[in-house]
Symmetry: D2
Subunit: 381 residues, 4 copies
Amino acid sequence: MNGNRFGRLFQISTYGESHGPGMGVVVSGCPAGLELDRAAIQAELDRRKPGQSHISTSRDEPDSVEIQSGIQDGYTTGTPIGLTIQNRDARSGKYEPFITAPRPSHGDFTYSAKFGTRNWGGGGRSSARETVNWVAAGAIAKQILETEDIEVRAHVSRIGDIESPPVTFEEMGKHTEETDVRCAHPETAAEMREVIEEYQRQGDSIGGAVSFEIQGVPRGLGAPRFDAVEARLGQAMMAVPATTAFEIGLGRGAGSVSGLERNDEWTVDEDGDPTPVENDHGGVQGGITTGEPIYGEVTLHAPTSIPSEQTTVDWETGEEKTVQVTGRHDPVLPPRAVPVIEAMAAITIVDFMLLAGRITPDRLDGRPGEYDTDYHPSRPE
Amino acid sequence: MNGNRFGRLFQISTYGESHGPGMGVVVSGCPAGLELDRAAIQAELDRRKPGQSHISTSRDEPDSVEIQSGIQDGYTTGTPIGLTIQNRDARSGKYEPFITAPRPSHGDFTYSAKFGTRNWGGGGRSSARETVNWVAAGAIAKQILETEDIEVRAHVSRIGDIESPPVTFEEMGKHTEETDVRCAHPETAAEMREVIEEYQRQGDSIGGAVSFEIQGVPRGLGAPRFDAVEARLGQAMMAVPATTAFEIGLGRGAGSVSGLERNDEWTVDEDGDPTPVENDHGGVQGGITTGEPIYGEVTLHAPTSIPSEQTTVDWETGEEKTVQVTGRHDPVLPPRAVPVIEAMAAITIVDFMLLAGRITPDRLDGRPGEYDTDYHPSRPE
Amino acid sequence: MNGNRFGRLFQISTYGESHGPGMGVVVSGCPAGLELDRAAIQAELDRRKPGQSHISTSRDEPDSVEIQSGIQDGYTTGTPIGLTIQNRDARSGKYEPFITAPRPSHGDFTYSAKFGTRNWGGGGRSSARETVNWVAAGAIAKQILETEDIEVRAHVSRIGDIESPPVTFEEMGKHTEETDVRCAHPETAAEMREVIEEYQRQGDSIGGAVSFEIQGVPRGLGAPRFDAVEARLGQAMMAVPATTAFEIGLGRGAGSVSGLERNDEWTVDEDGDPTPVENDHGGVQGGITTGEPIYGEVTLHAPTSIPSEQTTVDWETGEEKTVQVTGRHDPVLPPRAVPVIEAMAAITIVDFMLLAGRITPDRLDGRPGEYDTDYHPSRPE
Amino acid sequence: MNGNRFGRLFQISTYGESHGPGMGVVVSGCPAGLELDRAAIQAELDRRKPGQSHISTSRDEPDSVEIQSGIQDGYTTGTPIGLTIQNRDARSGKYEPFITAPRPSHGDFTYSAKFGTRNWGGGGRSSARETVNWVAAGAIAKQILETEDIEVRAHVSRIGDIESPPVTFEEMGKHTEETDVRCAHPETAAEMREVIEEYQRQGDSIGGAVSFEIQGVPRGLGAPRFDAVEARLGQAMMAVPATTAFEIGLGRGAGSVSGLERNDEWTVDEDGDPTPVENDHGGVQGGITTGEPIYGEVTLHAPTSIPSEQTTVDWETGEEKTVQVTGRHDPVLPPRAVPVIEAMAAITIVDFMLLAGRITPDRLDGRPGEYDTDYHPSRPE
């Protein structure tokens, strides 16, 4: 409603501005009995972190996550997990010129028009820094999904006009993290890097896309009509900063394909059940999962913060003026968006698993009404 | 949660299966004081109605809407509006072969896998017949938006490989309803019709896309981060049956565009306020509306019901068999999807207007606490 | 939000005014595989129905429920169940005097102040007629609970100063329906009837209370803090028309009881588990069920529609005037509130069962991902 | 859903356990433009704080609140306000005996039965320490209500058998904070104190009640049927730890009152509008506010933590044993519950004000679409 919550049974509530004291997220609905791996959360944050290479912003943030609640003896307790991340390297000074003179295509104008004010340092609430909360929460979602052998992977599939050939789930696992571009097709990654550097040199930036795939999702998830899997994934992905398109299965291309060509006929799987011979449907039919991998693509426009001169207007004086968005900015978004998109996908799928009762909301072992000696402490050491 | 509700302050709850006794929708959150035009609701249903031409299914449904509640003396009362639409022309017999042998790429398999059963006649709950509820509710949303001079228009922008040149909002208003193809570019409409008939002759079907545009939206709507305008529009559109892509602004194309090219610089409008010189951002920046038109495109895959022979599996016998989906089916979806997409857009925008307090939730005139003699009856006639 | 929805996973959305064409409720979240008993729904409606005796209104409504969707071969399909009930015996004429001159302590004034208008016939949306929707939905909830051996019972525990001695769950089952007063203690029922008739003779009405008890609830339901079982029951019961108090366990009386006296010590049950020796806590500790019966009481004020003369003000003329609320009205509310309170309790508990995964949301048999030959039709007969 | 969120447009999400690192609350939906008074938040926390006198626990917590986000130049920005409060004085050791041997009438048993585990130190998530979050959020709600001249007051109306005579709103304002008992009737406060000390001396505790009153609420708030004002207040109050009854207006007493006696006739106010001559209805008719003060009472049972010996069962050994709940505990709850109940009332009313559009959700000044020079910084100093 207010934009700061996502999820239905697996719920996240976030706060924080780019240059405020800190970011935070309340994760509510994580079942009890998960052996929570703090290092795995941190590792995801490190993937998203600025300053990883010269094709990302040089802002220096340790992004160290602190767990404030929700665990006992290393296991989740079913109660909300409060995560906080302090902001360290905030330098608001260079944002002063934009307080009343909005940067082109940023949220400066719209936040001030909506609220009459805004936290202007570093983009405030509109900054992509907010996604640190999503990645932290998504890392918990991933750990829950792991217990059901569900895995989300993503990689950079397009940068400008450079498009990666299709890659397998295994290739994503193997190659995505090999380069700072995060394209799982190594030769394409090299080409992309060149393109990025070229735009960077010109004081410009460039768009791109991230492909994602989710494997291990059981059949039967999703609640059509309005909570179809693709509808909730659509909301999740279109909330990622700078997204302009969400596609599932054949995506936009499905518009030029005939029914005969796209329809996935049924054959028999090893259990004697119907299984589709292909997966043009992208893992979802009638809004409900078939058990096939869910895959899709998310397009992100070019970063709006660019060093080149641009024209804006100061709404106090009513006069046009020239601005330059100096500072520490990414020349391209997809590489750092990979963990963000994985996180939103993981959160969405965990939510559906809980809603379908495929994961018991109260506890992972599905034995409500009993005390569990596995993760319940008999006595503290 | 369960998939049968949409909206936050403007809420719709729907029920109904393709071949059940009737469809229905509860519209909750329509402010009091709207002079409700039943004929306008019916007119929207007529646009969506089957049997409009030989490029749509020949199922014969009057789709006559009955208003069960929520009005007094012709004005809405602020209490829920119950709408019911009876099903008349249901012929379930021809669906018997598919009870345990799912049609390719339909919801037959997934509904049965999720629920262990399903209403199988005519696709049951997974049928696009459900959208009759959405269009009826959307017609109310449109009437509310009219009071604020906000208007939604859509047209068919792609069929197979035929793509319409860009059309203006005025052209959409003028030409969309001129042909049963609903493309607002008349020459392209003719080409599209040929393509559709060709696929129809071959016992096949073809995909396409619908473009939408919303004008008159004030600046300041939207609740980033998770309830960004594009995120909620994304959910709305991806819930439309057969959608595989949602794009806003430059959409998928934004991936190949540079920051300098896409960024919309600011200039001064007649009020002395900043206004963007272009609208590559599609009416939304930082998840909040700029006041510029919101525009985008929705891709719909080819209808899965085709007369050609296809292979499936009977899950009772575990054997493959050949099926033919005879019956009355659309060879292409975008033409009848136009009013559906307009409806979902209208519902989403009304919701944001209410959430931002731009329309007072209790009553259109925004004077809570007073009795209104304009639409409150002094005495019944 | 808008007041027309209740429930989280088991959701009801209602519409309808006292004198409109009809009432309706969408029940969403009923798991698939329930053999839905329409007669049992009707039986609950008959318990709530007006005209049952001369201590209830003489309005003559068959209250015949029609199931519009959500079933196949007699079993629920997991998709929304649309229920409609036509209004037959609406006589709005006698409400004309109150259009601009609100009846004392009714919703006439407040609805018009909020919305600027209202549906004035028979109280419109503020009429207790709305509870026909609740009872219909509650009858479905009861059928779901039956599959888990959970049962809700209620009876009239107070009328004016006449208070029933405590009765057992068995007595409620045996005696509640024996008299039109619905007090499960027969001698007290007789006394209550006399009191009611006395107030009725005087052109007055009288308040009272309903006690409820829920047996068979497993331990572990409830989601503290804000969704504690008593908090959600509190919302449910305080939404029942005319309620002024909700009590759980010792209720108001707990204020004068000491910790030592109220605390329920633990002993060992037959399974070797801790079980409380008493149930002063009313089945809930820390917002979560202990497995003991949940019990409480709901107070309802006297009906506000009374034949005696009262003073009101016409807001058009600004002048005081005398009104008499003639018509068909109940002299006391608890007897007809018994099925309403049972319904709201059942809806609340089903919701918690679903939220805790104790009933699988998708289907009663808890086997998502499989086709069920028990209730899935192999072939139609 | 998961119990950690409250509110619809004014939303709070909380986390934290009694002996964890810290407590926190995300407040989302506070309109922009409120000059946020941190000291006023702290003052409310100080009212709730332990260790205020020898009739409250001696746990020593500074309860110092830190604002992490949501403000700029001292004004709220409309984005979420993250509040954190560190736990300092946690001594978990003395809770070890109860890990597998639940204290009578605490949440020990039910949390472990639900989740299979629990954070056991100091009651963990079931501790009343959680209400520190509510009071912090409520302090913001109060500041918003102040801008509309709405005020909430509460005082201790009952302790055991000692009942305060009715007090006025003014008396509550004047006397509540004069004593640590927080009864606004000074003589009764003295009596109550004696009773409390007597129970404390006996190693026992005692129940009581808190009365609340809300003045300045405009007519027209509330969304019947399920979101009637009393229904949402009921949920709010029944979520307060240890509540066993919620009453509005005449409350439980309404059961013995006749219609003629309770009905509030209408007269004319200074504006020529109808106004009720009395307020037996407690400020709400038909679920909607009349503009009269809303008042009611909340009963709290005796603290369950008492120094006397009690019997429990160890679920590991299956054996009964005697426990003593030593430590720092309140002998009575109402005094410290006063600020908690005020907070929940304030949060509920703000929410209704936003939902009715009486306060514009985006910003207090109700001028969306404009930049506000009052609280928008022209230039940083």
